[in-house]
Subunit: 304 residues, 2 copies
């Protein structure tokens, strides 16, 4: 073990999203020592589930880094979570009796932006389980979209999966064109008809629907008109988010999240030219955030 | 009390929908002796809630009829429920240890159709909390739509309320035109912004969203373009349901449910000419259903 890998110089970065929580341990030289993945970290879908997943992902990262002799209470953690843009959820998570030395809490959007650009300023469009636009420019935070599933988060994985279900039900009723998605979806869920489909999806959450998103893209690849219409609607939404962010003149604009590769070719060609590849992952952004906050805190303390 | 109002000749009719359960007591001469209203009767949103509401509405109808000396176990009941077109829910409700002498269970659609046309054959379009098309022609049952909220039930109260929320969030983000619905909705829910709106609607059900439907129609009345677009989309859906049903050549086609008056003027003018006013309410149809079933049962027994 390197001498530099003492607990004071290590940082945990955690990206808690709607589908999973990713943890990373980085040393002073930005080397990744270990990673861990656990369940959904969005506290909107359950405080206990989210906090357990965050702790578990961090513990797995410690094990992966062969640092099991250390304890989470010796490490500073940057934690970026989906859902905590809602003040009530932010306060709830901030009040968590967390297992870390210090927890620096912010939104998943903020750490994604810090990770993508490796500096404070910039903008990101996220399309994973959920969707959102975010910019941080001259200390100003701006959020657009991201109102959650099913009322918002257009063009997210959950939205595409839900649209597939909606359109398959209409198609099976003969109210819109026959779609390749009909068989793809019924086969995937082991359903024989609309009734079984409705029973299968009853009460399911964003994470569940996000797992169905690929059906839309698979069908569109084969020229399915219904699927193509859904993707065009989603792409227009992302275009409008991109235009709003671009008008704020960010140094860089990146698109991130699980649907980035599938969706990008469907965006307006000008919008595509605005996009820069992200430099690093959101969990790395969480480490940058924690380091900055720890540094500010240290300075505030020593200057008092 | 009339001599004819003995328990053997009285029938309970119950219409259990997503927002409320309505009970009616009718005598042999089709006179309504009493009515009762209780909470939601759709077992999809809770078996206990539904069965309690059904029992309560029936008890209230007995009291209203000044027949409190009778017991529910002396009465035959026709019970039409939302949700029981799903086989699993039908079986669950059929297994209910109900308080009636006999319970004749069918869908809310079937009793609505029997009530609207006062005979077996005919077709109905329902737009209340949920939406659906139904026909019963030559002993053949046909259902279209009605896949539940939020994945189906287009042009229902829940759908309009949900579309209002969806569009207000887009409008507040500046991604679509400013809408009169923005202030109407925020004021109604006591919210100051998108974040508060998202918190207010989190986890809410179809009944909740149905109570917001009038906002779309109120705004459209004042010429709001966003609201008008939503209503046009809903009306096109109802038009397509109506065309599917009309192709089956029903003796009569009626539209029923809380949104009928608001929606009808937006339908295609030819579709409007197909619609006949319903003759009686679904709970009356539930009595017709129970009488028919009791008669069939009696004949089967005596002919054995």
């Amino acid at each position: 073990m390197h001498k530099s890998n003492n607990a004071n110089e290590l940082f945990l970065g955690i990206d808690g999203g709607g589908s999973k929580s990713k943890a990373i341990i980085m040393n002073k030289s930005n080397e990744v020592l270990g990673t861990g993945i656990a369940g959904p970290g969005n506290p909107m879908h359950g405080f206990d589930q989210a906090t357990n997943a965050i702790t578990q992902s961090a513990t797995l990262a410690l094990i992966d880094a062969k640092l099991s002799h250390l304890n989470l209470c010796q490490l500073n953690a940057g934690v970026g979570l989906a859902g905590v843009n809602l003040p009530s959820l932010f306060d709830k998570m901030q009040a968590w009796q967390h297992p870390f030395k210090q927890m620096y809490l912010t939104t998943d959007l903020h750490i994604a932006c810090l990770g993508a650009h490796q500096k404070e300023d910039g903008a990101v469009i996220i399309s994973g389980t959920g969707s959102c636009g975010f910019s941080y420019i001259d200390t100003q935070t701006f959020i657009i979209g991201g109102h959650g599933f099913p009322q918002g988060d257009q063009a997210s994985g959950a939205w595409f999966g839900f649209k597939a279900v909606e359109h398959v039900l209409l198609s099976l009723d003969g109210l819109i064109d026959v779609s390749l998605m009909n068989n793809l979806l019924l086969t995937k869920l082991g359903c024989k008809n609309s009734t079984a489909l409705v029973e299968a999806i009853a009460g399911k959450d964003a994470t569940y629907f996000a797992q169905l998103a690929h059906i839309v893209f698979d069908a569109a690849d084969k020229g399915d008109k219904v699927a193509i219409t859904i993707i065009q609607e989603g792409a227009e939404y992302i275009d409008s988010i991109a235009r709003t962010l671009w008008n704020k003149k960010p140094a860089r604009l990146s698109m991130i999240g699980g649907l980035t590769a599938s969706l990008t070719p469907w965006l307006n060609t000008e919008v595509q030219t605005w996009l820069s590849a992200p430099k690093s992952a959101p969990e790395v952004g969480a480490v940058f955030f924690a380091r900055n906050e720890a540094f500010k805190k240290h300075n505030n303390t020593t200057h008092k």
